[in-house]
């Protein structure tokens, strides 16, 4: 594996941080280091030990430490024509556990962020119902509520990687996903309120934004587990996530989770809106396209180490971690390989295993300092195992754009620097 590393270099800051953590010894080893000279951080009085810090109310709405200023969503400017109808990515390599903080949830807008005062928002249900209805936010908050943790993944997540390894960083290859706890009203209760006629087999959901986003959803799903949500992680939805009201469609592609939802029409047939014909259909190699590919297949990715998060401590004990999810249920198992798939190890799952939620896995090992080829593969509770990129290509070709749930490979060189690669 003699190769030249040309990917994104780890920043000076991450090297410094790594060096400090290792007590000044960059070339680490598996045993505790001897220390030749006393560490001034211990022997000298530090200002934070002597002088008073900020009082309460310094920041009425708390923000992360200034040392975390690099933990932000990032975009890939060449992907889209304009930042108003575009996407940015969740910094997965900086996160742990299963919950995505609200300010780091990736954004995808088609007409920018709609600014709507909650008292000005209305939700209408019309079409094949006994009684067309209008709800205010106040009305909606009088219904029984439910709390659920669900992942939201854009169908185009990893879509740039079909034709080959392209982007160096799991933020860019896998960051069109977030996982938060939603509070909302079951859509079932609202449809029951309106009284769906017997020929009402589909709903069309529509946003109040400048794109008027609309999608068709089969009635069975609408009555099953969809939510009309107004909170994420306990607080109001962020404007960029649809404040004051969004649809939650558990396990299904993110485009259907219409933000700023203002209308639900009940009909007897699907609408074939722009976002389910011209976009979000999966073109196969033979020119035929799959449509209504709603469910997100099981998928996983190692978030550390990865191109934006190299190993900075040298050889010795190393934590590999990542996330896994499935639109069809839970993830009872993830396998990890460090030698490109010759041998696999069952990873340790940690944190709650919730239906259609992100799962966190760890694999700890003693790194010998030699190059690694890292992969993870998720098993979901249906028995489905995440396929390789070539297995998916054999079925779908390279023009699908959407629903790329294949196994990701990171090459880690002797210096701990990681790169996005494909392997045989």
């Amino acid at each position: 594996m003699d190769m030249k590393f040309k990917g994104t270099k780890p920043s000076r800051r991450s090297f410094l941080t790594g060096a400090l953590a290792a007590g000044g010894a960059v070339a680490g080893a598996s045993v505790a280091q001897g220390q030749a000279t006393p560490d001034p951080l211990i022997t000298e009085k530090q200002p934070w030990r002597q002088y008073l810090g900020a009082g309460v109310d310094e920041a009425p709405y708390g923000m992360p430490s200034e040392h975390e200023a690099h933990v932000i969503r990032r975009t890939v400017p060449w992907l889209t024509a304009d930042p108003i109808s575009s996407i940015n990515f969740t910094p997965l390599h900086e996160l742990d556990g299963i919950i995505t903080p609200n300010g780091l949830c990736f954004e995808r807008h088609h007409g920018g962020v709609a600014e709507i005062a909650p008292e000005d928002h209305r939700l209408m249900i019309n079409g094949l119902v006994d009684k067309p209805l209008v709800f205010t936010m106040e009305d909606l908050k009088r219904y029984p509520r439910e709390n659920h943790v669900y992942f939201l993944e854009c169908a185009a997540n990893s879509g740039m990687e079909w034709a080959g390894a392209q982007l160096n960083g799991c933020q860019f290859t896998h960051g069109m996903i977030h996982n938060v706890m939603y509070t909302g009203v079951p859509l079932r209760l609202l449809l029951e309120e309106a009284g769906v006629k017997t020929n009402g087999k589909w709903i069309m959901v529509e946003g109040a934004d400048a794109a008027g986003m609309n999608r068709s959803i089969p009635m069975e799903k609408a009555l099953d587990d969809c939510l009309i949500a107004f909170k994420m992680n306990g607080e109001a939805l962020r404007p960029e996530q649809g404040y004051p009201l969004r649809l939650v469609v558990p396990g299904w592609e993110g485009n259907m989770w219409v933000k700023w939802i203002r209308r639900i029409e009940v009909g007897d047939e699907p609408w074939h809106a722009r976002e389910e014909t011209s976009k979000y259909t999966d073109l196969l190699a033979n020119g035929v396209a799959r449509r209504f590919t709603w469910e997100m297949d099981a998928k996983s990715v190692i978030t550390n180490p990865s191109p934006q998060a190299p190993i900075t401590h040298g050889k010795g004990w190393t934590v590999i971690t990542g996330v896994a999810w499935s639109g069809r249920g839970t993830i009872p198992r993830v396998d990890v390989t460090i030698d490109g798939g010759k041998n696999w190890h069952q990873a340790r799952m940690s944190g709650p295993s919730l239906n259609k939620s992100m799962h966190r896995f760890y694999y700890e090992f003693e790194w010998d300092g030699k190059p690694l080829l890292l992969q993870s593969r998720a098993h979901d509770n249906t028995g489905y195992v995440q396929p390789t990129k070539n297995e998916l290509r054999a079925i779908r070709g390279e023009n699908s754009i959407y629903h790329n749930n294949s196994i990701q490979t990171w090459y880690v060189n002797e210096n701990g620097e990681a790169e996005n690669v494909e392997i045989s």
Partner: protein, 406 residues
């Protein structure tokens, strides 16, 4: 009384209560009830019993379901709903319910021809999509691409890919023009749709599209879509309980590197830019819009109003730090700048000519342009219709001065 009963007999299984009353009344006069009446009464009683049982069954089903829901921590249903919300008015539904389906459901009355469509398209759409739907920059290509779906980098246009014409109508009506959504009349949408058929070689130039003939038009790629078949095609291959864990392959080779393409955004550069911006913000903590406005003698309220109005402009223009040319030129320093003279932007002839003739964007020229762009600069590619009030124009000029510098 018998006559009364006879009248009701043809109604057969009418209201049981009326028949029962009739039976009681009839009983006073006759000993034997004629068979058809007795049957009708029995039938009704049976139906009433059935309805009662069905209702009880539904209630039991709901109760059982709610018990199940409660066990799962889910919210209970109530027969007939919670009684929240209010009935939508006909006018309200009419105002929002404008979606269109492939079967023509939802189409408004109206029509538009290819020639009108070309005019509207060039005025309102071509700055992003090109005069013939060929697209500018990375905006969507709308025409051509026939025969490309099976090759590398397929060109998916209305003609080559979209299955239904209704999608064009629905989308143009709801989301276009970008930055001024939902502003086209039904006739304009018919005309644009007709023009898009024309540039895709699907109709002749004398074609008129209307709600009458809409369903006769079929797009060529309609048959090449199929419903999701992953469960049938992919699951059998990917459900693998006995997947290999040890010695699964002999050798491994790297076949592709992302660094070869080198398209990852430069994180260090982005971070340094962010840090520089942060440092600048710390150095000048008072540099708010208001403060800047005060320094320049601009009315802060006017500047704020202008900032709000700028939403109408930002689909094409950027202003402030880091602003770059988009569909329209960036507007930093536009007030006081020579017209159509910002380097690197491809202006329409009128603006370039005005600049060459010494024209400058001052309050008078900007005011006239913002009030009615097409009248002030005939031939401009800017598709904005113009601000209606003098206050809005003053606010916009104040904002341009404040945010873009003078």
């Amino acid at each position: 009384m018998l006559k009364f009963l006879k009248i009701f007999l043809p109604a057969g299984a009418g209201a049981a209560s009326i028949l029962s009353l009739a039976y009681i009344a009839a009983d006073q006069f006759i000993v034997d009830i004629p068979a058809p009446i007795r049957e009708a009464i029995e039938l009704n009683a049976a139906q009433a019993q059935e309805a009662k049982e069905a209702k009880a069954a539904a209630a039991a089903e709901l109760a059982a379901r709610n018990e199940e829901l409660a066990l799962a921590g889910l919210a209970p249903s109530i027969a007939g709903g919670y009684g929240l919300g209010r009935e939508a008015l006909v006018e309200e539904i009419a105002a929002w319910d404008d979606d269109v389906r492939p079967d023509g459901h939802g189409l408004p009355a109206g029509s538009g021809d290819v020639f009108t469509g070309e005019e509207v398209f060039i005025e309102k759409c071509s700055m992003c999509h090109g005069d013939f739907g060929e697209a500018v920059g990375r905006w969507p290509v709308l025409a051509g691409g026939f025969g490309t779906l099976t090759r590398q980098d397929p060109v998916k246009t209305i003609g080559s890919y979209w299955p239904y014409l209704s999608t064009v109508f629905d989308y143009v009506n709801r989301a276009m023009p970008f930055g001024e959504a939902n502003s086209l009349s039904p006739d304009e949408v018919y005309a644009i749709t007709a023009y898009l058929l024309y540039v895709n070689d699907l109709v002749d130039d004398d074609f008129t599209l209307s709600n009458e003939n809409f369903n006769e038009v079929r797009l060529p790629n309609e048959e090449n879509f199929k419903d999701d078949d992953r469960l049938e095609v992919e699951f059998p291959q990917f459900v693998r309980p006995d997947i290999c864990m040890e010695n699964c392959k002999e050798s491994v080779e790297i076949t592709m590197h992302a660094s070869v393409l080198d398209v990852t955004p430069e994180e260090t550069a982005a971070r340094e830019a962010a840090e520089a911006a942060e440092a600048a913000a710390e150095a000048a903590p008072e540099a708010t819009v208001e403060a800047a406005a005060a320094d320049t003698g601009l009315d802060p309220a006017l500047v704020a109003a202008g900032e709000d109005l700028f939403k109408k402009c930002r689909s094409c223009h950027q202003i402030g730090e880091g602003a770059v040319d988009r569909t329209g030129p960036h507007l930093n320093g536009v007030v006081g700048r020579a017209i159509g003279a910002h380097d690197g932007f491809n202006y329409s002839g009128t603006l370039a000519d005005a600049g060459a003739a010494g024209g400058v964007w001052d309050e008078a020229t900007l005011g006239a342009f913002l009030a009615n762009p097409k009248a002030a600069m005939p031939g401009t590619k800017m598709s904005f219709a113009g601000f209606k009030s003098d206050e809005d124009i003053a606010a916009m000029i104040a904002y341009l001065q404040s945010a873009g510098g003078q």
